[in-house]
């Protein structure tokens, strides 16, 4: 079932598909990051594929391998009941992938966690903050070169956090401006 998906993607995005395999029944496409967004849009909306769920986003650090990082997406189709894994290799020097938040909103938190743990940036992410760790944390702990016993420096008390009232006011002003515009 999902073999067909792999074939179709291979056919349509010939240049971007670096490799495919289906070990243990997990269909996998290794993709170039340039086509990631396009492929995902295709996978989500194409009939008979309908990958309407992004199950998980994570990354793997293959230290001492070129390219070092890989972002891994697990997709699922609730209608077709099939799964697909997308892997996007990334160079250590340039760990950036386009965000998928506009395709699946689930990517929001998943990508935040990958950023937090691996320091892989997601271009176009609306709110790329650390999620499990605090903003002052130094380094990205799931990288293989982060020693497991490493301790973090003591941080100062935060004087002031993000000003949510201010954010809300801006939001409110924008909204008011919008409604003014639509009124006139």
């Amino acid at each position: 079932m999902s073999k067909k998906v792999v074939t179709a993607v291979k056919k349509k995005f010939k240049a971007a598909v670096l490799d495919t395999h289906s070990r243990l029944g997990d269909e996998t496409i290794i993709l170039d990051r340039s086509a990631l967004h396009e492929v995902c849009e295709f996978l989500k909306h194409q009939p008979k594929m309908e990958f309407n769920m992004l199950m998980d986003v994570t990354a793997v650090d293959y230290l001492n391998r070129e390219p070092r990082f890989e972002v891994v997406y697990h997709l699922y189709s609730l209608t077709q009941k099939h799964r697909l894994r997308l892997r996007v290799p990334l160079e250590e020097s340039d760990p950036v992938v386009p965000t998928l938040t506009d395709v699946w909103r689930a990517a929001n938190w998943g990508e935040r966690e990958v950023w937090d743990m691996y320091g892989i940036r997601f271009e176009g992410h609306p709110d790329l903050r650390r999620i499990l760790l605090y903003a002052e944390f130094e380094g990205h702990p799931l990288r293989k070169d982060y020693p497991i016993q490493r301790s973090q420096p003591r941080m100062d008390l935060r004087r002031k956090e993000r000003d949510s009232v201010e954010e809300y006011r801006t939001m409110h002003r924008d909204r008011a401006a919008d409604s003014d515009r639509s009124a006139t």
């Binding site: 309407n52 199950m55 998980d56 909103r105 938190w109 999620i131 702990p141 956090e161 954010e167």
Partner: protein
């Protein structure tokens, strides 16, 4: 009122208040913080902040042997530890390409459902507690304790069970297990009935639950909801049915599905699923096959103690597994099981050694928390409480 601390001015629409709900707050179980922007009592903006219970689960696993990961998985969703155990074992077995024995499958199904029951009872009970219906909570907890007695009976611990092993189980069921279950079963039914009668039709409860924290099926899918939360929105996705594992393809059970995705539906899904779990356990106990609980793969399963004590062959086998860990072939696998809160995924990368190279958990409530702002914005502060509860976020799982 001192300026800058908080401001309450009359009249203007713009004047909102920021309220830090948590991390230390009675209802934010598992220490979560929600930065709320309030207009009166209405939530206009919610920014959930997690990570207060982050323990570096995935990092730790990378330096543990495959077997040593089990105690860590106990502490993921600590209300249903068995399900995490089995989910992880299932993933590694998939990577090892091992098919566990029939008896192990049935036992895993039984104990998994026992754990699921305890998870659902906790969620229902805690929801009642947070709506101040204390008695319902304690009834549910009483039921949960009975179930944990069963955990203890067969694994030696109530919560940190570490019961599964790769290729099978740590131990077989005890002889008295069925007897114990026969004693527990009517009491659980009684407790479920009591909860049902106390709450399901009570108007105070309905007013609090119906129409609050609702999420549409499209949004739920988009946010990656799974489990009871997705089913409450009307999507009948249950890993146990759609991709059966263990003995789930051999038992008969229904999938309760809601329609609106509000708190009431989530509560009902859990309540009805609890009844289904009871059904599954009964069926499995009736058909429980005989035989060994561990597969016959010496490189994976520790040999019998007698063999270890008395033969060099058993001793060598034992030693190799203990100090090297199970040698899992290089490769990657994504395995999924239905945990208490939804699809519990394990993405494992092995480089062929005794330790996982990468062990990613897909905690079901992580993605649900990602969508919680959508569910509470526009509601009132008080609505956060049942919404947060019916999502049943477990700190150990979301923060890992």
């Amino acid at each position: 009122m001192k300026d800058g601390l908080f401001q309450v001015e009359a009249g203007s629409q713009e004047d909102v208040m920021v309220l830090n709900m948590g991390p230390s707050h009675p209802a934010m179980h598992g220490t979560v913080r929600m930065v709320l922007t309030l207009d009166g009592e209405t939530v206009v903006k919610c920014d959930p902040e997690i990570g207060y219970l982050h323990r570096g689960f995935e990092k730790q696993c990378e330096s543990a042997t495959w077997t040593q990961v089990f105690p860590y998985t106990d502490r993921l969703n600590y209300v249903s530890p068995m399900l995490n155990n089995f989910g992880y074992a299932h993933a590694v077995e998939k990577l090892l390409e091992i098919e566990i024995t029939d008896r192990a499958k049935y036992i895993r199904t039984i104990m998994g459902e026992v754990s699921r029951l305890s998870d659902h009872l906790t969620s229902i009970g805690a929801g009642a507690l947070e709506l101040a219906a204390m008695s319902a909570f304690l009834y549910a907890i009483e039921g949960r304790d009975l179930l944990w007695d069963l955990h203890e009976e067969i694994s030696g611990a109530r919560l940190t069970v570490s019961y599964a092993r790769i290729g099978g189980l740590k131990a077989d069921l005890t002889e008295e297990f069925e007897e114990r279950w026969n004693a527990v079963e009517p009491r659980i039914y009684e407790i479920l009935g009591r909860l049902d009668r106390l709450m399901t039709k009570n108007r105070v409860f309905l007013d609090r639950m119906q129409g609050t924290g609702a999420i549409s099926a499209e949004d739920a899918i988009d946010f990656g909801f799974t489990g009871p939360c997705l089913r409450s929105a009307g999507v009948a996705y249950d890993v146990r049915k759609d991709h059966p594992y263990f003995a789930y393809d051999r038992v008969d059970f229904d999938v309760p599905v809601g329609s609106t995705g509000d708190n009431y539906d989530r509560y009902m899904v859990r309540l009805l699923e609890a009844y289904q779990s009871m059904r599954i356990i009964r069926q499995c106990l009736n058909d429980l096959p005989d035989g060994p609980v561990n597969v016959d793969v010496p490189s994976v399963v520790l040999p019998e103690k007698d063999t270890v004590y008395n033969t060099i062959e058993g001793m060598i086998n034992h030693f190799k597994i203990i100090f090297e860990g199970i040698q899992v072939p290089a490769g990657e696998v994504y395995s999924y099981t239905e945990a208490g809160n939804g699809e519990l995924g394990f993405y494992i990368v092995s480089n062929g050694t005794g330790n996982p190279w990468k062990l990613r958990v897909r905690p079901p409530c992580f993605y649900m928390m990602g969508g919680i702002d959508r569910m509470v914005e526009g509601g009132m502060i008080a609505d956060i409480i049942p919404t947060f509860d019916t999502i049943n976020m477990i700190g150990g799982e979301i923060d890992r």
